[in-house]
């Protein structure tokens, strides 16, 4: 395998610049100055930040079923360009990823693309219908080795089904990722229930619909001694519930897979950056589930991510066809692109205001998600002998988002025309350059 030499990088954004040599899939050497071996690709990365490759616990790759909006291959490209080395592909495909056949298809498509480790998420219930457990064990034992299950897009709302799923997953060493939305409280919901929705005449999606499920599931997980992950936390109230839940088990350490009470949670870049103020023109590029909330919610989420109450950032990358977005608000599908903008939005909302250092970014975008998903070779330290699974970031770059230039098939994005800081300049997966300077390798 070819060798790659990264020159002048600052690992985790700390300390003196060093050279990092990747060879045979691992970090062969880290030193003040390394002479390039013959044939090695040299990346002059003076002033750039080297981080462990990003891990996204929440991606919609739309294959099978909606290959007109994204495929495993195009989504893998978007992921690599966004600095990701592992993504978890949600189960709400068509057919639903509720059998070994479907998860194995997704896994193989990911291997064929070869740009990022694609881990299929299995459905918790058959057809995401919330009524009957899917064959979690068969999916776990399949070639896809599924370790995360979620009905994302739908809430596992029946408390008995959720209890059984949590209990059953324990034997599989798996985690249940919950889309927390009490469906009885969100019938017809179109926007965050608050002043904006009241003004615009949009049916409200109340914060209580999320918070009540999170509280319930934390309690169910504690009693089941199971691992629970909360998808896309969007409200300040959920942060309060999680803070309580993590403390209740005897401190944050229980959330790291210890005995008893193990709950983790993710926040999306869009819930950190965007608020329901953007709904004024009814442009459905801003429609997402859970909905964009208030500025106060976004602030609470950023603080909770800094504090560790929220464990990690996950994109909820959700491509949709033009006709499903350029229509009336009510008719539009919820979801937005996220893989190629995540790092920049974290830089904008967390690093620039001083809430996170680049060292912390490694934690929330790589190390914690890898731990939650129990990936042994992702989110590893940047040290000699470790996998050369790395992301190189130019922290000083600024760029303007153009949906048509993103790798996804769908091109609509709420960030269109927005100028953002920081850019991924190279991504390495086990020593292989998957993306460099905005191009796929």
């Amino acid at each position: 395998m070819s060798e790659t030499l990264l020159k002048g990088v600052r690992c985790y954004g700390d300390g003196e610049p060093v050279d990092v040599l990747a060879a045979n899939g691992v970090i062969a050497e880290i030193a003040a100055s390394i002479t390039p071996p013959d044939g090695a690709e040299v990346i002059d990365a003076a002033g750039q930040v080297l981080l462990p490759g990003f891990v996204d616990l929440h991606t919609h790759l739309r294959e099978p079923g909606r290959e007109d909006t994204e495929t495993v291959a195009t989504g893998s490209a978007a992921a690599a360009l966004g600095g990701y080395t592992a993504v978890f592909a949600m189960a709400n495909t068509d057919p639903v990823a509720d059998t070994a056949v479907v998860v194995e298809h997704v896994r193989r498509a990911g291997e064929a693309a070869g740009l990022v480790d694609v881990h299929p998420v299995g459905a918790v219930t058959v057809g995401l219908a919330g009524e009957k457990l899917a064959e979690l064990g068969t999916m776990a034992e399949s070639a896809a080795r599924v370790r995360m299950f979620s009905d994302d897009g739908h809430c596992v709302h029946d408390p008995l089904i959720m209890r059984r799923a949590l209990e059953y997953s324990r034997a599989l060493g798996a985690v249940i990722a919950q889309h927390a939305e009490e469906p009885r409280l969100t019938v017809g919901a179109q926007a965050h229930e608050g002043t904006q929705a009241a003004r615009l005449g949009l049916s409200g999606w109340p914060a209580s619909a999320e918070e009540s499920i999170v509280a319930r599931d934390c309690i169910l997980a504690a009693h089941a001694a199971a691992r629970l992950h909360i998808c896309h936390v969007s409200t300040a109230g959920t942060v309060d519930v999680l803070r309580w839940a993590k403390g209740w088990g005897g401190g944050k350490d229980t959330a790291r897979g210890g005995a008893g009470f193990a709950v983790s949670a993710e926040v999306t870049p869009h819930h950190l950056l965007l608020t329901d103020d953007r709904l004024a023109g009814y442009d459905p590029v801003n429609k997402v589930n859970p909905p964009l909330r208030t500025g106060a919610d976004a602030k609470a989420l950023a603080e909770a991510l800094a504090e560790g109450v929220l464990d990690c950032v996950a994109t909820d990358h959700a491509p949709h066809a033009e006709q499903d977005k350029d229509c009336e608000w009510q008719a539009a599908r919820p979801g937005m692109l996220g893989l190629q903008t995540a790092l920049s939005i974290v830089a904008e909302t967390m690093v620039r205001p001083g809430l996170l250092t680049w060292r912390d970014v490694a934690r929330v975008m790589s190390e914690r998600p890898a731990e939650i998903a129990r990936l042994p070779d992702q989110g590893r330290p940047i040290a000699e002998g470790e996998p050369a699974t790395l992301t190189l970031v130019d922290p000083e770059a600024r760029w303007t988002v153009r949906g048509a230039e993103l790798a996804s098939i769908a091109a609509n994005t709420p960030y269109e025309g927005m100028e953002l800081p920081a850019r991924v300049t190279a991504t390495l997966l086990r020593g292989r350059i998957t993306a460099r300077d905005g191009r796929i390798r």
Binding site: T195, G201, C327, W329
Partner: protein, 311 residues
Amino acid sequence: MRHLLAAEGLDRDTATELLDTAAGLKQTLLGREVRKLPTLRGRTVITMFYESSTRTRVSFELAGKWMSADVINVSAGGSSVGKGESLRDTALTLTAAGADCVIIRHPASGAAHRLAHWLSDTPAAVVNAGDGMHEHPTQALLDAATLRERLGSLDGRRIGIVGDVLHSRVARSNVHLLTCLGAEVVIVAPPTLLPSGIDSWPVTVSHEIDAELPSLDAVMMLRVQAERMHGGFFPSAREYAISYGLSEARAALLPEHAVILHPGPMLRGMEIASRVADAPNALVTDQVANGVHVRMAVLYHLLASEGADGV
């Protein structure tokens, strides 16, 4: 004025000008045998109604026809809309065919805004004839016109809006327009029929209709839609009528000069007692009559070129 999408954002001068034009048109037409002005001759107005509506569609149609515009009515049932064509494509098609103005009624909040966005490269004007739970600006204008006829200036007038404010586009438009014209608005409804976030509205909120009626100059009773009655927003139609309906006894609490409005269609015996609806101070038919003049004024301001004759 390029479009009329909402009462929110209308400034006092524009709103007053529209109402003055409407009053002028009403005077002009009064007693005429042939109610036809040449103002919009050669202009094409298309109404697109994605919800059934008789009074609003007819009112807009008359407004256009009384000003000699060619008015074409498209309904969701009898066109390619029924075949699954998107709103965007339908609008672009109709505009390409030559519409100068598109009047839209749609069940989705914001549909008129989207339409204006899609038609931004064309000269066509968009009029919102009711979008979901958002706004119904010409209803607010006709209500204001009716109130001005009876009460004069709305400055400092106290106007109650009673009923399902949560789902009501009429309430939203009236809150914006009436407060813009200087009136105080009192909202009366059970908490389940108020939007979360109403605290930010420039209104007073009450759950006690009897306490409010004696100080009102006008009360507007909103229709209670059948689906709300079964949606658990209140225990029963009977209890709603008892708690919030404008009974004869309640109507007697109003000051002598106060007037009663209802956007229609009325549910007699539910939100308003039958005799109250027919009382001399109930202005329901005045509202309908003023609706045509207000819509003429809107079309005039959107479509008539500078120095147009006929008004």
